[in-house]
Amino acid sequence: MHVEVDQPKCVASGQCVMLAPGVFDQDDDGIVELLDADPAPEHHDDVRESAAVCPAAAIRLTEK
């Protein structure tokens, strides 16, 4: 799995940070920061859920 985030789109809902704190973080303004673009398999479900609940569609996944 490969993860990309679109910071200009992010609306700082913070749900990805709650779901997958090892993969996503927030900068001082609450905007998404990607910690791990190629997360280990145990994070995949949480990352998929993060992408599904992201209100701004700011998380893009490529499943390899």
Binding site: V11, A12, S13, G14, V17, M18, L19, Q26, D28, D29, G30, I31, E49, A52, V53, P55, A56, A57
Partner: protein, 409 residues
């Protein structure tokens, strides 16, 4: 068309629709019929206009995330609520009714304090506020109105903490806030309260500029006012906006949630005995989904023609997106009318969806997690002090809830 609908003379169903008297926690039965039979259909509202009503979860998320719809309430075709036709006392600075890029520019000025780590750092303070409020309630007479004793004061005290309102100013702050969030307040009175609060916040911003703390107002003062991005008055209005937006909603979730749980004792027991924070957090998501207190629909207007659900929404057509019924869509939530705190309800749209999704959601989640995990544990014998059918629900409220909740223990 189902028979449960009230039809206008022209044939469209009328909006809003009544809930069934015996099911105060469920959306109107007519909405359910529409969801299965005519998920994208026109309704007639108070001013005679006929916006589209969107009822399915899939359409709700697609449209709320679609840049071809606008939140600008001044555009022709926007389905206004009855109250907004009169001059209303809301702060003029509101990005809620703006579109990007202006909406994003303003919203980003206030996202910092809502970052998860900042909100999580507030948890001990929220816990203290909840415990103190329960102590006070237990020390007083019973029965007591839970709305007055807990549901209203807790969000108010928490927002003081978040904004950085000094304790000695609590009285002024609490009094004016109470006046503002009460539905029954006369317009002149609430305008005076709004001015008093804005003035007060402006004075507070000045002192925060001199001595910044780790709070939202210091953040706005040092990063937005000092840099000239916002005037002191605009910043104060933003503060008032955040204050109001996070008040009535959280208060109603506390009281209505307790009301629903007291009538679902098995669910209350599960929540009370939740083994860890994750279970409690998941239960909060289900209560948000099930109660969906923003029951008046999210209002939008189409900027271009949009094909959805076999219908064509034309540019200029108004839209009412009914999140309460979207959260009961059986395609997404099996057995949707059952309150089941063990289900995964995370994908609910109680906070909306798209770029306007609730900014305060991390704070709302924190408050509800702390309240629900503390209240029933500390007062296991908590019970309604009146018959369930005597509870008065806010059918005509901007946000759904209960007017009062007499409880005993």
């Amino acid at each position: 068309m189902p028979e449960t609908l009230t039809h206008s003379s022209e044939g469209q169903a009328e909006w809003p629709m009544p809930r069934a008297a015996t099911c105060p926690f469920d959306p109107p039965p007519a909405l359910k019929s529409l969801q299965s039979e005519a998920p994208v259909s026109r309704v007639r509202i108070w001013d005679g206009s006929t916006p589209w009503l969107i009822t399915r979860y899939e359409h709700t998320r697609a449209l709320l995330g679609d840049p071809r719809i606008s939140s600008d309430a001044t555009r022709p075709g926007f389905p206004r609520t009855a109250g907004s036709a009169q001059s209303d006392t809301r702060a003029p600075l509101s990005f809620i009714n703006m579109d990007d890029p202006e909406h994003a520019r303003l919203r980003r000025m206030v996202t910092a304090p809502f970052a998860i780590k900042r909100i999580e750092a507030l948890r001990p303070a929220v816990q203290r506020i909840v415990d103190d409020s329960i102590d006070t309630m237990l020390a007083g007479p019973k029965p007591v109105d839970l709305v007055e004793a807990l549901a209203l004061p807790i969000p108010s005290l928490v927002i003081c903490e978040l904004l950085g309102v000094p304790y000695e100013d609590h009285d002024l702050f609490q009094h004016n806030t109470k006046v503002l969030v009460k539905l029954s307040t006369a317009r002149e009175e609430s305008a005076a309260a709004l001015t008093a609060l804005t003035d007060y916040l402006e004075r507070l911003l000045t002192s925060k500029l001199e001595r910044p703390g780790n709070d939202l107002l210091s953040d706005i003062a040092t990063r937005r006012v000092a840099t000239g991005e916002l005037t002191q008055r605009e910043a104060a209005r933003m503060g008032v906006l955040l204050l109001i937006a996070g008040h009535e909603t959280t208060a109603n979730m506390i009281a209505l949630g307790t009301c629903a749980l007291l009538q679902n004792p098995d669910q209350l027991a599960l929540l009370r005995d939740a083994p860890d924070a994750k279970t409690t957090a998941s239960a909060v998501e289900e209560l948000l989904r099930y109660l969906n207190i923003t029951h008046n629909g999210r209002r939008r207007v189409a900027l271009e023609d949009i094909e959805i659900g076999g219908e064509t929404i034309r540019a200029g057509d108004g839209l009412i997106i009914a999140g309460d019924i979207a959260n009961r869509d059986p395609d997404v939530f099996p057995d949707p009318d059952r309150l089941d705190i063990t289900r995964n309800a995370r994908r609910h749209v109680a906070f909306g969806f798209g770029v306007h999704q609730c900014l305060g959601q991390p704070l709302a989640r924190l408050e509800l997690q702390v309240v629900y995990s503390t209240l029933y544990r500390r007062i296991p014998a908590l019970a309604l002090a009146i018959e369930p059918d005597q509870v008065r629900y806010k059918h005509d409220g901007a946000v759904y809830g209960v007017y009062e909740l007499p409880v005993t223990w």
